[in-house]
């Protein structure tokens, strides 16, 4: 009789029973297990290698009216500093506007005609530097060092008869134009970016569970037994969330305006069209995840697995140009990267469609590929 009495003490055999059951279940769910191992590796690589708060190799365009040995030394000095990658030489000042607005370059350096002559005369000629300051972190280090870099580059040439030019003041007058966000207010950069982050996180996840829920509850079999093409099912499934995304967009924009006073200099209609495209791309991705995952939890994990690099490699948290090449290549695949350029471009820089067409095309291409995969993965049968 005594043995049947309820005992309150811990029973290790029972703990062991549950422990073994959990181990078996964990082993059977391969995807979950893989994601649990992959996420720390991913984080280590991203945080350890990809992120750099002292961004170098920033793309720079030079608009030089003359190409004298001094100008060449100056450009060489910029390149040697590793902060500036002089990728383009432009002949028209308007090209510089476009390159800055589209985000293709961070700096446009203008060397006016007569620069060398005035330099030699000791008149401290102006060197005009326009910088994309929409992300205050990205440009600040390079700008802070620019004076030193320029003077050091020129001083090497100031030998012999020119040695009188080695002045305390520096030989050129550096005129900086931090553009788009001259005060360097972080929120101006973060808040528009958050729009993309919020849309990515919520919409991919919400559609990610859309099909897996049907599978888990057994309603998938019914859905398949009824008429309807995969495309019809997909469009019907993602349409409601297009509305959700629209509401989120309105909320973020209103908060950006009222609470953070983020400027909006571009076209609202261009922004809305871009947002719609971005929302659909994310919904399609979520739908694709839900054709790959077997359970809702797996779909959530795939979302996290996608969301993490999106946050870190898109230029949302850390300057895109500061990352190593491989990280930038991955970043270029992610729709958030392009969307950030678009939304910041429109809101802060007043970028036009022409400035953003490559980024918009990239988002559209991503969407097409993802829809294609979803259609391949969506099975019309239970085979």
């Amino acid at each position: 009789m005594n043995s049947k009495r309820h005992r309150k003490s811990l029973n290790f055999a029972r703990i062991n029973a549950v422990f073994i059951k959990e181990l078996i279940q964990m082993r059977r769910d391969r995807l979950t297990f893989a994601v649990m191992l992959a996420i720390p590796i991913l984080e280590l690589v991203l945080f350890g290698y990809a992120i750099n708060t002292d961004p170098k190799h920033l793309p720079t365009a030079v608009h030089a009216e003359e190409f004298t040995p001094q100008v060449r030394s100056l450009i060489a000095g910029l390149v040697n500093s590793e902060y500036f990658d002089v990728s383009t030489n432009i002949s028209d000042a308007r090209d510089g506007e476009h390159l800055l607005a589209s985000g293709e370059v961070v700096f446009v350096i203008e060397i006016p005609s007569g620069f060398t002559e005035r330099l030699i005369r000791g008149e401290r000629p102006q060197l005009l530097v326009a910088a994309d300051a929409s992300d205050p972190v990205a440009a600040s280090n390079a700008l802070a060092r620019m004076n030193t870099i320029v003077n050091r580059a020129l001083i090497k040439d100031f030998t012999g008869a020119l040695s009188y030019l080695k002045s305390e003041l520096g030989s050129v007058d550096l005129v900086l134009h931090p553009r788009y966000n001259p005060e360097g207010i972080t929120q101006y950069n973060i808040v528009p970016g958050l729009l993309g982050v919020i849309l990515t996180m919520t919409l991919v996840m919400i559609t990610g569970v859309a099909m897996t829920r049907e599978t888990e509850r057994g309603t998938m079999e019914n859905l398949l037994a009824m008429p309807g093409s995969p495309f019809e099912v997909m469009v019907g499934k993602i349409l409601p969330f297009l509305g959700v995304g629209a509401v989120q967009t309105v909320i973020v924009l209103l908060v950006a305006h009222w609470l953070f006073a983020v400027p909006f200099v571009g076209s609202i209609s261009l922004l809305l069209v871009s947002v719609a495209l971005f929302i659909v791309a994310n919904l399609a991705l979520g739908f694709t995840f839900s054709t790959i995952a077997k359970t809702q939890i797996q779909a959530m994990q795939l979302t996290v697995f996608f969301f993490l690099p999106s946050m870190l490699l898109s230029g949302f948290m850390f300057p895109f140009r500061g990352m190593p090449m491989w990280a930038q290549v991955i970043g270029e695949v992610l729709p958030l990267t392009h969307f950030l350029r678009v939304v910041r471009g429109i809101m802060l820089k007043g970028a036009q469609f022409n400035d953003l067409r490559i980024d918009l095309a990239a988002i559209a291409a991503f969407m097409v590929v993802v829809v294609f995969i979803a259609m391949l993965r969506y099975k019309r049968t239970l085979d």
Binding site: G218, E221, A225, P227
Partner: protein, 309 residues
């Protein structure tokens, strides 16, 4: 010749190395109710899924409703109602919302009236605003039947529709099936219940993916060649272990307060009965029940009753 609703030959389905369905022929005349029987894992669900296009047949050709099984899967779907083994409608939707969804998917004209008529005929009208989740098992089955018949399919495939439903609800459910059949619908229904099998016009028995026997209930009992004896009385149950071991006794089971023994060899069976008759029980030859026949078939085909799909 009567028109066939299902006319397939050599239907097979392989999952990797496993043969789930092996060269099954089905020729099902229009307007009949056919029962699909067999132990768990015998291939009933797989066959039904192949018939409505949810699984691609590995081998075999044929027609469903005069449409090619392979080429016209989409069209077959439109004219077939398939009720899955597990309740597969949407729990977050009310009864009415579920039916409206189905009406939209099938592009029914006059949607409102179709939904109202269906609710009325299946006695769901007073529950139309309840969430499907809140329905009991019997009512869920009724909702599922309503949903899969609303587009007036010519062929109805029901996969264990009454599993876990109480006898009253099962009886109501079968009344509905006969009503639909009287209106010209062809029905193929899988079941484990003998009383349901006896309500069918024709029975097909599957085991291990093979079609073992088919026919009307009396035909199947006659064809089986099975002989049954029965004894009643207090303590007769205790005889079961002993009598089972006797030669010729293929199967012994206690039910309805009596012990049944079955076998194919009359002389051996009679000898077995006589050897235990001294215990004072009166043995009587009876007509084998359908259950006797099926259990004998299961033993013959070596089907493992413990296996699951």
């Amino acid at each position: 010749m009567t028109e066939l609703a299902i006319d397939v030959s050599g239907l097979s389905k392989h999952f990797g190395n496993k043969i789930a369905v092996n060269k099954v022929d089905l020729h099902l005349p229009k307007g009949q109710v056919w029962g699909f029987l067999g132990p768990n894992g015998s291939g009933k669900t797989t066959t039904i899924r192949m018939l409505c296009g949810l699984l691609k047949a590995t081998e075999g050709e044929g027609n469903c409703l005069g449409l090619d099984l392979r080429k016209d899967a989409e069209l077959i779907r439109r004219h077939t109602g398939y009720m899955t083994q597990r309740f597969s409608f949407w729990n977050e939707l009310t009864v009415r919302e579920n039916l409206e969804f189905v009406a939209r998917i099938y592009e029914l004209k006059n949607r409102r009236r179709s939904v109202n008529d269906t609710l009325e005929v299946l006695g769901l009208a007073h529950r139309q605003h309840q969430l499907a989740d809140a329905l009991s098992g019997g009512w869920k089955q009724r909702l599922a039947l309503a949903a899969v018949t609303m587009h007036k399919p010519e062929l109805l495939l029901l996969d264990e529709p009454t599993a876990g439903v109480d006898p009253q609800a099962r009886r109501d459910f079968w009344d509905q099936i006969h009503r639909l059949s009287n209106n010209g619908m062809t029905v193929l229904v899988s079941t484990h219940y003998m009383d349901e099998a006896e309500r069918c016009d024709h029975i097909v028995y599957l085991a291990h993916g093979n079609l073992i026997t088919e026919g009307t209930v009396p035909d199947i009992i006659d064809q089986s060649g099975l002989i049954s004896f029965r004894a009643e009385g207090v303590g007769v149950r205790a005889l079961e272990p002993r009598i089972k071991k006797l030669p010729g006794v293929e199967y012994a089971a206690y039910f309805a307060a009596g012990l049944h023994i079955c076998g194919h060899d009359r002389s051996l069976l009679e000898r077995a009965v006589n050897s235990v008759a001294m215990d004072g029980y009166h043995w009587q030859e009876i007509r084998p029940s359908l259950e006797d026949v099926f259990i004998a078939l299961m033993e013959q085909t070596g089907a493992d009753r413990r296996s699951h799909t």
